[in-house]
């Protein structure tokens, strides 16, 4: 099987061209073709000699994957299904909104984290995505030219696949890649602390934390990761980081009726986030099969926002998008996955 050029960083391309006996500058030409010119065949790299193109073609392919399915919501949201290695599937959600258009990308096939409220977790973990497979979701999007933002909030925990996620960010933000400002990209995590610290050092993209409760004991009941990386340690790492003026941290907070929506939670949120320039995004919970959790009503959600705002915390309620097309992340790919996955033994 041929190796894929798409998803390689400039330094990896330099290694390849040197190995193949080509001048080093050819790597820059290849990255230009891959990430700026949307080619699909090596033979389209017209400023490479025919000999070099043929050499490359013997061992490599471009490696792009077009989406195999799309579902379009009445609100304009589109959910794309991309093929991944091993006959698996991943999802990306394209969310247009006035002058913004955001793509929510996946970083893994399935997820190992097992959060109680998450549909992707029901798949279990199916595999890691390569940097190429992550960036392909952006590059092969039919609406690529309209994109203003990318969020790593699709399937998987980005910091459980940090190496490939960092590579994908390098490709997105380097001049030799797409040249995007890191301020257009947000990576979301449930709080794998060592990987988060490495990300904060090596990337300039924004960070979002899936918080969902300010209390350790609450988090432990819905997010198994709490047993390994407890919230106080996570908050300590966040408070200790020098955020500067450009970089943004936000907290995702899915509201669950009777679980994390009390005044006690408001008070504790104000306490733990004190001194941090941040935002809380409140999310409505869209029930998934067999879930014991419920969403509070609209009035309670608005009241929760107002209580947080009155404590001086910038709080927004994220609009629910694409509800008519299985908006909850993982639903579409789970449906596809069931067709070709054997049960796992335990």
């Amino acid at each position: 099987m041929k190796d894929k050029l798409f998803g390689k960083t400039l330094s990896e391309l330099q290694e390849i061209v040197v190995q193949e006996g080509m001048p080093a500058f050819v790597a820059g030409q290849i990255s230009d073709w891959l990430y700026k010119k949307h080619i699909t065949e090596i033979q389209e790299m017209k400023n490479l000699s025919k000999v070099n193109r043929t050499k490359l073609q013997e061992k490599y392919e471009i490696g792009l994957n077009l989406p195999v399915k799309v579902q379009t919501s009445i609100d304009g949201t589109k959910k794309y299904l991309y093929p991944a290695a091993g006959k698996k599937f991943i999802e990306s959600a394209y969310i247009p909104d006035k002058d913004r258009a955001t793509l929510c990308v996946s970083s893994q096939i399935g997820c190992k984290m097992g959060c109680l409220f998450c549909m992707t977790g029901k798949q279990g973990f199916q595999g890691q995505l390569s940097a190429g497979e992550i960036v392909n979701q952006i590059h092969s999007l039919p609406e690529f030219d309209k994109l203003t933002n990318v969020v790593y909030m699709g399937m998987g925990e980005p910091f459980d696949n940090l190496k490939e996620v960092l590579k994908s960010l390098e490709i997105m933000t380097s001049e030799w890649g797409y040249g995007w400002s890191p301020k257009r990209i947000t990576v979301s995590t449930i709080g794998i602390i060592p990987a988060m610290q490495q990300f904060l050092t090596e990337s300039k993209a924004h960070l979002a934390i899936s918080l969902h409760s300010p209390f350790e004991d609450d988090r432990k009941k819905i997010m198994p990761i709490e047993n390994v990386y407890p919230l106080p340690k996570l908050l300590q790492a966040i408070h200790e980081f020098e955020w500067g003026k450009q970089r943004r941290i936000s907290f995702e907070y899915i509201l669950f009726k009777g679980f994390n929506d009390s005044q006690r939670h408001v008070n504790e949120l104000a306490k733990i986030l004190n001194g941090l320039k941040c935002r809380i995004n409140l999310l409505r919970f869209h029930p998934i099969p067999d879930s014991p959790l419920e969403s509070p009503d609209e009035k309670a959600i608005v009241e929760f926002r107002e209580k947080l705002t009155s404590k001086g915390i910038t709080t927004t309620i994220r609009a629910s998008r694409g509800q008519d097309i299985f908006a909850a992340c993982g639903l579409l790919s789970t449906k596809e996955l069931q067709k070709n996955t054997e049960p796992i033994d335990f």
Binding site: G110, C111, K112, M113, G114, L116, G121, K122, G124, F125, E157, D160, I193, P194, A195, Q197, Q198, E216, K220, K221, I222, P224, I225, E226, N227, V228, P230, D290, P292, L293, I344, D345, F346
Partner: protein, 221 residues
């Protein structure tokens, strides 16, 4: 010293490496730090490589720390760990984590090497009032079975999905749980295994009326 993934590590030397089933090992080293039964440590054999987390499988009052691991196909670290000999250098973090045992009545439910934290709880004196359910593909996957059988008697239920054996439930542990008429809703349910096992087991427990707040899970990752 620190690894590239940020853990502060300490040097330890291998006391013993024993293969207890094909591709499954118990690695022991002299205890450097106190811990709570159920905690994990980060381990690597090379400071230039990323470390991985493993649950401690030994008791809190023992002089040595034991780690249960299986060799992951194409996994660099576990392959290196499986080739260690007495005296070899390894690097370990302080124990951490909150998947820790208590004296409350509980079900301990594990798949494969997910038995490790429960072994630690067992050897730390937390096994009374507990039911231990262990799932594995083959009969060789019931690590520490001889000890558990003696102590737990009928409250130790090995569930084997691919082989039959005396005293072993034939089927996956999820099938065993489904076969039970009722489970006490006031007990705690500790789950340790892969994401698939934890998610499926948790769903079954919730369907059987166990409040999700009573379920505590740890997932390999």
């Amino acid at each position: 010293m620190s690894t590239k993934d940020g853990y502060k590590l300490f040097q330890a030397n291998v006391l013993k490496l024993e293969e207890i089933a094909t591709g499954v090992f118990v690695l022991s080293y002299k205890k450097l730090h106190e811990f709570i039964a159920g905690q994990v440590v980060a381990i690597t054999t090379d400071l230039n490589d990323e470390s991985r987390l493993y649950s401690i499988a030994s008791g809190v009052r023992e002089e040595e720390v034991r780690i249960l691991f299986n060799v992951v196909p194409e996994g660099k670290l576990t392959t290196q760990m499986s080739q260690l000999v007495e005296g070899d250098q390894i690097f370990i973090s302080k124990p951490f984590g909150k998947f820790t045992g208590t004296k409350e009545p509980a079900y301990w439910i594990a798949a494969g090497t997910g038995i490790a934290p429960f072994a630690s709880m067992f050897y730390s004196g937390l096994a009374s009032n507990k039911v231990l359910i262990h799932g594995g593909r083959t009969l060789s996957a019931f690590y520490f079975r001889n000890v558990f059988e003696v102590y737990f008697d009928d409250n130790y239920i090995p569930c084997c999905s691919q082989q039959s054996g005396q005293g072993v439930f034939k089927g996956r542990l999820t099938e065993y749980l489904k076969s039970l008429n009722e489970l006490p809703p006031e007990h705690k349910y500790y789950l340790c295994g892969s994401a698939e096992m934890v998610v499926e087991t948790r769903d079954i427990l919730i369907q059987k009326g166990i409040p999700f707040k009573q379920i505590i899970a740890e997932i390999y990752f």
